[in-house]
């Protein structure tokens, strides 16, 4: 597409990157077909191609109104469009830039919206604050209205985290929400790796993803640096990989090299951490787990998170792991569509999020599964809030 970026951005790194991405787009519209919001709303402005156009318009210097921000906010950031795009348009990166520029130039959001965003930023990325509030909510659950109660995860038994005993070591970035909301997941991962000759060391901290997508770039990058610092000692001592069990965080850690490329103090560390970053499924697939001899007689519907299939382009890996473990993995329709969780989307765009959740559960239940498996904490909590079928991280099933 023809572009004529405005002076304020043309010669900046952000502007150069955006221009290169925009020039790749040929405006064919294939992306509209797999966009969850376009499928619901039928408005070009709620499609990737329409948003690219809004961003282009903004970067070309046109005045930014509330409409641009609204339609960018409605984007899930699921990147299904990137999987569909034959021209290789890096929509996710363009969107991040677009959101930041819109944040600077669009009229201020309403007071309620701003308060909600501030609250999210003040709680979610801080695991202690989140854990504290979650414990209170779990205590109050019996007296809360049904709709709120459904959102609060139950406490489940947590397997023991094995003490380090192997020479092979990996470090796991544990994230912000998961240690409090579903501590069993990482413990199960540590056990699985331990059984296969790898000791997993936990490192605390939020990856920064929630803040980065909001977009609160400064805070997001600060959290990313902290996460790098947390992983650094084990990395220096020869950890083979930085493992992440939530695909949403894994995709962010893999982006560190790009996000911090202009930070002299962290660029190199970020490059190393990103190059070592592995989604748990990649690590598990390389463990040569011995397949189960007898089938388990359990049907699993696997919801592949967008951050796994579109963000990290990992497809079929978890399904194979589950099948090897003796489960029957049922095929479900609209496999490529987002469940509506999308980080903080379920809080910020509750209407659209609920609709997507309803559709996703309908598709998953069409296979009559005994269990639903997924690979990201956000999707897990979101799906479980509206179904009685148990929803688990796949590693808990191995």
């Amino acid at each position: 597409m023809q572009t004529a970026l405005a002076d304020f951005i043309r010669e900046t790194p952000r502007g150069r990157e955006a221009d290169a991405i925009l020039r790749k787009c040929v405006h064919c519209g294939l992306c509209t077909a797999t966009c969850p919001t376009y499928r619901l709303l039928g408005n070009e402005l709620d499609s990737p191609r329409g948003r690219i156009y809004l961003i282009k318009r903004m970067l070309e210097g046109a005045a930014v109104g509330a409409a641009t921000q609204l339609h960018l906010d409605r984007c899930l950031g699921c990147r299904a469009c990137e999987s569909t795009c034959p021209s290789g348009v890096e929509y996710g990166r363009l969107l991040e830039s677009g959101k930041i520029v819109a944040e600077q130039n669009a009229p201020q959001r309403g007071a309620k919206e701003r308060a909600l965003r501030r609250l999210i930023l003040a709680v979610v990325p801080h695991e202690k604050r989140f854990a504290f509030l979650l414990r209170i909510a779990q205590k109050l659950a019996p007296v809360l209205p049904h709709r709120l109660r459904a959102k609060i995860p139950h406490q489940r038994a947590v397997p023991a985290w094995p003490a380090p005993r192997h020479r092979r070591r990996m470090v796991m970035l544990r994230g912000c929400v998961q240690p409090a909301a579903a501590p069993a997941i990482d413990a199960a991962a540590a056990q699985l790796l331990d059984e296969h000759g790898v000791s997993l060391l936990g490192a605390g901290g939020c990856c920064g993803g929630v803040a980065l997508h909001l977009p609160a770039a400064k805070k997001g990058l600060a959290l990313a640096r902290k996460a790098i610092d947390a992983c650094w000692p084990p990395v220096e001592q020869g950890a083979e990989a930085v493992v992440v069990s939530a695909s949403g965080c894994a995709v962010t850690v893999k982006e560190y090299a790009h996000l911090l490329r202009d930070d002299p103090a962290y660029a190199e560390k970020a490059r190393v951490v990103s190059s070592l970053a592995r989604d748990l499924s990649e690590v598990a697939a390389a463990l040569n787990i011995i397949p189960a001899i007898a089938p388990r007689n359990l049907r699993v519907a696997f919801h592949s998170p967008c951050t796994l299939q579109h963000g990290q382009k990992i497809t079929g890996v978890v399904e194979r792991l589950l099948e090897d473990a003796g489960y029957t993995v049922a095929a479900t329709p609209n496999h490529h569509l987002c469940c509506g969780s999308a980080g903080t989307y379920s809080l910020l765009q509750p209407g659209l999020s609920r609709q997507l959740l309803k559709n996703k559960l309908h598709d998953l239940h069409s296979a009559a599964p005994d269990l639903i498996a997924t690979a990201n904490i956000g999707c897990l909590l979101h799906l479980q809030s509206r179904t009685a079928t148990p929803v688990r991280h796949w590693v808990e099933l191995l």
Partner: protein, 486 residues
Amino acid sequence: MKNKKLRLLKKLRRILPAEAVLGDEERLRPYECDALSAYRRLPMIAVLPDNVEQVRAVLQLCARERTPVVARGAGTGLSGGALPRTDGVLLVMAKFNRILAVDEHNRTATVQPGVTNLAISEAVAHLGLFYAPDPSSQLACTIGGNVAENSGGVHCLKYGLTVHNIMEVKAVTMDGAVLTLGGRALDAPGFDLAALITGSEGLLGVIVEVTVKLLPRPDTARVLLAAFDRVEKAGDGVAAVIGAGIIPAGLEMMDNPAIRATEEFTGAGYPVEAEAILLCEVDGMAEEVAAQMETVEEMLRQAGAVHIRAARDERERALFWSGRKGAFPAVGRISPDYYCIDGTIPRRELGRVLRRIKELSAEFNLRVANVFHAGDGNLHPLILYDANVPGELERTEQLAAAILGHCVEVGGTITGEHGVGVEKINQMCTQFNARELAQMHAVKSAFDPEGLLNPGKAVPTLARCAEFGAMHVHHGKVAFPELERF
């Protein structure tokens, strides 16, 4: 003009919910073009109705206000058929996305116009049926747009174009009348008006419902890929296969630049060193397919194929096709912009025309990648250009005109399946004489006497042709002017 816009907005908001009426520049900008982004015009207003009553009311209002209306589906068209008017309303039909009924016994599906082409086949796959026409954009393009443009696709060589695969069309005219054209039976007395509205490019009515024919999915489909070291040899291969009496389900050709671009995206295993590849698909009963595959392979080897490979399984077959289907946008990887041409030629002229395109490409100093439906002689040369370089689009348009002129010269046409739109409107003057064009205008005014539906598209005014003719006379006259075209 401004007052008119405000008045219209007010009245439209009585017909439609507030968020379905777009009137400010910010929201309208993304609607300024379809997939032919070289041509852009900001619509005065865009509306997104979701039921037929709203469509009728919008059209009646616009008729009263003498405001032009342009209908749009998914905006994937390549001829600018949905290019808005600055003084008009853009009628976006994307919310009409429901499949209304599937009649398994009559093998038909009745769908709303905003349903995507592929969604129809997906919805009936469990019955062993499919909808045959398959434009490369089938994932995203809508059936309403397919009918309006009479779209083709890879499999149209065997199964026909859109016009051969629809039974009934419901359309709303500018005065709000709902017409039912065609019927549920294969023939009906009177004029075949369903065929007339197919390919009418939104000039006659707004399509609000389509009943399509469904076909049983063939037992077996196999595809083979043949590589050639010269484009002309591939052309000979096409002629040989068709000459042997085989009707492949698809017979597609790509030249080297197109092969390289798509291979990077799909990893389909296309040989990037080849000057041309042919993809030939045969479908039917397993025995029939096996026999035909042998013949095809023999024919292509004789034509000089240096390398032939058959897809081993269904997965590889899908992979072979994924390259071809994503070929246009994949060109976005080797060039910032492309301009797609849609001429047809008699198959025997393939080699000659490709040579001529090569010469013209050198003459205009613009790269051309060729991707096309070789089996039915439908060319899709993609001219690669950079819209950010001043003058390059103009040069591209001149090259396109020269290529299309050559298509007509050898006995072909200026469009095979993408429609005329705004893109090829001048070339219509080369294709048809004044009396023929006058008849087309007479058909238009029978449906739309005020000329408010998608004006300025598909059929040029005689004045426009006179102007275009005066401009282009020195480019060399059409050969054999005494011959009737078509």
